[in-house]
């Protein structure tokens, strides 16, 4: 039955990919959404199934067949639902189906063939993502890992007629390739160390080892895996592909580049929590990198003008939060934030999509404003999302973010906590900058319109100019927006901390997934949860205090944004003029792309052109080939003399052979 969860979307992909162009939009889109819903239902059922069990054995593992068996390497195609992957599949299928529904309206202007292609990609992505989270061992996870990479490439470059889209797709693919390389190395290292690639076996094997005090094999392995994660989840230094990925259709950005795929790295770390816990060095690196990414992305997000880019950078920084949580060992908090973030970030992206849709592809927030009255649904849902991400109680973002910050503080990383706080304030600020610039004030048209950046979606059906009356999100989109808004409000309530009299069910639910599956895992998990609660109990006052601080910070950020971008617009320009270099620096994203280009891309280009192509390939390889041919030719011209065509010559040589063989047997 577990197999059905990824197989249903795959079936949808097959149908849409093969005879999609002959199907009308309603059929292909409906089919795609339907299979997603079906697999959502199945996921819910299976989660129910494991939820019904005692804490210890909340897991179903389903072996389909043995995929590879060579030597002592044995890899099964086995799917596993435990508490962790349960959360993931719910998020993926649930939000995924919402986004499918949304897309049926959003992509409606495409031709039938394109429409079907889009949905086939989307389904393929969903099935690969599900394989990723359901896979019970590294290779299977890697299949999903690569598959989602492929789909993200295909979907970023969906409008392949547009060069920027193609470039973005290629960039995403190449950057991910770097991470995947490290990931593969990590897998090899694991196999070399433990002789297996099954998550459970690795965890139980690791749990017998002591945590590595110095930088040893475990640290190296985990570090390699983490580099893979940075590639997939857009962390420093491999985050550069994510902002460009916004070239893809907005729902894609919402599903792949905000809600699901980019969280794969976080999930991977959570999946191997035991392994990472035994490598403190790596954990520290993870935490630091996460915090740094969060801060950096936040600062960049502060000045970006493309609505989707702002959201992209906020995604990066939220992912940074998650990695921070993972790094400080608060896996539960990290996954919690992953889960809440999926809701409100998807909501925000879809809202921005609605805006762009309404404005026929206008993405520059300087050209927006005053949409509050014209797009009420979009407006309200968007605001809810913004409040949620800003971390205002009692919305989803608040609980998860504060759990992360609290854990960070408790684990004793005060500096990281400070960074987190600043990022939180920044988050609130740039999010509400976005809100105010988009929805308050009145329409502005001065800035150059970025029409071409979304050329396809500017539909012929919308003939009238952007100045005229705009209509709000069509029902399908509205449905998705509203559901997600409710989610963003309520999603956090399953993780209410004890400080506020909650039980943090999610925490206890996830606990067994992060502990080794040794004998009596149940008891262990229980104790872990218990002592977690105890710890929480001891820190309740502190926690409350921190909450207050961060909430105040968020509120302050919002007020600041209101003050600057609604009351006194001049301040922004003045600030930009005052601190021109900083502004330019931020506007150009710290010139990271340029640096990479200068430091890596150009040298590699030159090396491969001059060295590999002109030097190695032409001279050595071709030379070798031609040389071989020449040798064969010359030797053949020599050998040809042997073939006189005269029978007796052949017989003579045979005769010689006979004499030689006889001589060998008689005298040698």
């Amino acid at each position: 039955m577990l197999a059905l969860i990824p197989l249903l979307p795959f079936a949808g992909f097959v149908v849409n990919a093969t005879l999609g162009r002959r199907l009308p939009k309603s059929v292909s889109g409906g089919l795609a959404s339907l299979v997603m819903l079906a697999s959502f239902v199945i996921s819910v059922m299976s989660v129910m199934q494991i939820a019904g069990r005692p804490v210890g054995e909340r897991a179903i593992q389903e072996l389909l067949y043995t995929w590879i068996a060579s030597g002592d390497l044995k890899i099964d195609v086995a799917f596993r639902v435990d508490t962790l992957s349960a959360v993931m599949i719910l998020v993926i299928t649930g939000i995924g189906s919402l986004i499918h529904i949304y897309s049926t309206a959003y992509m409606h202007d495409e031709s039938d063939g394109e429409f079907a292609r889009y949905f086939s990609y989307l389904n393929l992505f969903a099935s690969f993502m599900l394989v990723l989270v359901l896979g019970a061992n590294f290779p299977l996870m890697f299949v999903g890992w690569e598959g989602v990479g492929l789909c993200s490439y295909l979907l970023i470059g969906f409008w392949f007629k547009k060069k920027s889209a193609n470039d973005a797709g290629k960039k995403a693919f190449v950057v991910n390739r770097i991470g995947d390389y490290a990931f593969l190395l990590g897998m090899f290292a694991l196999f070399a160390k433990f002789g297996t690639l099954d998550f459970q076996q690795i965890a139980s094997a690791v749990s017998r080892l002591p945590p590595e005090a110095t930088f040893g094999i475990l640290s190296v392995t985990t570090l390699l895996l983490f580099i893979g994660a940075t590639g997939k989840s857009a962390q420093i230094p491999l985050y550069v592909w994510l902002p460009d990925a916004m070239e893809g259709p907005t729902p894609v950005s919402a599903l792949i580049h905000a809600a699901t795929m980019v969280t794969a790295g976080v999930y991977m770390i959570g999946r191997n929590a035991v392994l990472f816990e035994h490598a403190p060095q790596t954990m520290l690196i993870v935490a630091v990198i996460g915090a740094a990414t969060a801060l950096m992305a936040g600062t960049i997000g502060l000045v970006q003008n493309d609505i989707k880019r702002v959201l992209a950078y906020s995604t990066v920084s939220q992912l940074g939060y998650m990695f921070l949580a993972m790094g400080v060992g608060a896996f539960g908090a990290g996954i919690f934030h992953l889960y809440t973030h999926a809701f409100f970030k998807a909501l925000l992206f879809l809202g921005s999509g609605a805006v762009i849709h309404a404005l026929h592809g206008e993405q520059d927030i300087r050209n927006m404003g005053g949409l509050r009255k014209e797009l009420p649904i979009t407006f309200w849902t968007f605001v809810i999302g913004a409040v949620a991400i800003a971390g205002i109680p009692p919305l989803a973002g608040f609980f998860s973010k504060d759990e992360i910050l609290f854990e960070t503080y408790v684990e004793g990383h005060q500096i990281l906590w400070v960074v987190g706080m600043i990022t939180a304030v920044l988050t609130a600020t740039y999010m509400f900058r976005l809100v105010f610039l988009t929805f308050w004030g009145e329409r502005r048209q001065e800035a150059p319109a970025a029409q071409d950046s979304h050329g396809h979606a500017t539909a012929p059906s919308h003939g009238h100019g952007s100045s005229s009356h705009l209509h709000d999100a069509p029902p399908a989109m509205a449905l998705a927006l509203i559901v997600l808004a409710i989610g963003s409000v309520a999603a956090g309530w399953i993780g209410v901390p004890h400080a506020l009299g909650g039980h943090n069910e999610l925490h206890t639910w996830l606990e067994p997934a992060f502990s080794a599956p040794a004998a009596g895992a149940a008891a262990e998990g229980a104790t872990a949860a218990a002592e977690g609660e105890a710890a929480a109990g001891s820190h309740e006052t502190l926690e409350r205090m921190l909450m207050g601080v961060s909430s105040l910070g968020a509120a302050a950020g919002i007020w600041f944004a209101y003050f600057v971008w609604v009351k006194r617009r001049s301040i922004a320009e003045n600030a930009a003029r005052e601190f021109a270099p900083i502004h330019r620096l931020l506007l150009n994203k710290y010139y990271v792309d340029e640096i990479y280009d200068a430091a890596l891309v150009q040298p590699i280009k030159v090396a491969s052109q001059e060295g590999l192509w002109r030097g190695f390939d032409v001279k050595i390889i071709d030379g070798a080939v031609n040389g071989a041919a020449a040798i064969v030719n010359s030797s053949a011209t020599l050998l040809r003399r042997l073939q006189t065509g005269s029978v007796r010559t052949y017989a003579g040589s045979l005769f010689v052979g006979v004499v030689a063989i006889l001589a060998y047997y008689l005298w040698l």
Binding site: T644, S646, R648, T649, G652, F655, V656, V658, V659, L662, A663, L666
Partner: protein
Amino acid sequence: MPEIITFYLFAALTVVASLLVIGQRNPMYSVMLLIVSFGGLSGLYIQLEAPFVAVAQIIIYAGAIMVLFLFVVMLLNAPKEDAADWDRTHPLRQPGVTRWGTVLAGLLIVQLTTALLAVREFNTPVGAQSDASTVNSVHDMGRSIFTRHTFAFEATSLLILVAMVGAVVLARREGDQ
């Protein structure tokens, strides 16, 4: 004593006939002489108490294969080979080649003699079978052909089939179907 005489009789017959076969310009005579040498051989087979092989030798070789040769010789009305181009184009007639050939032949003879001197101890037969049991021996032969040598047998049958088809294809004149 008589068997010595018969042996040398048949041996001489065989050898002389064979020598004449290759010393002969006229293929017709060669064929006939070869039949004679086969006759000698089958006599030797009888002396080796393999009468079945002897008769088969006559039936298959002399009776069938040689008739085939004869048939072809008559069909082509084969020309006597002329001595003229013997010396011209024969690759082994060029002096150098000839010298090497003789050297090789000498070597071969030396080797064979040394090899043959090594089988001295083998002079009395193991389990000599009297020809009264020829029929049994035929039985045994058949049995072991169809049991121990099954593969060889099948392979040979396949070979025969292929040869038959090949002969038909080759000998067919181009054009006529």
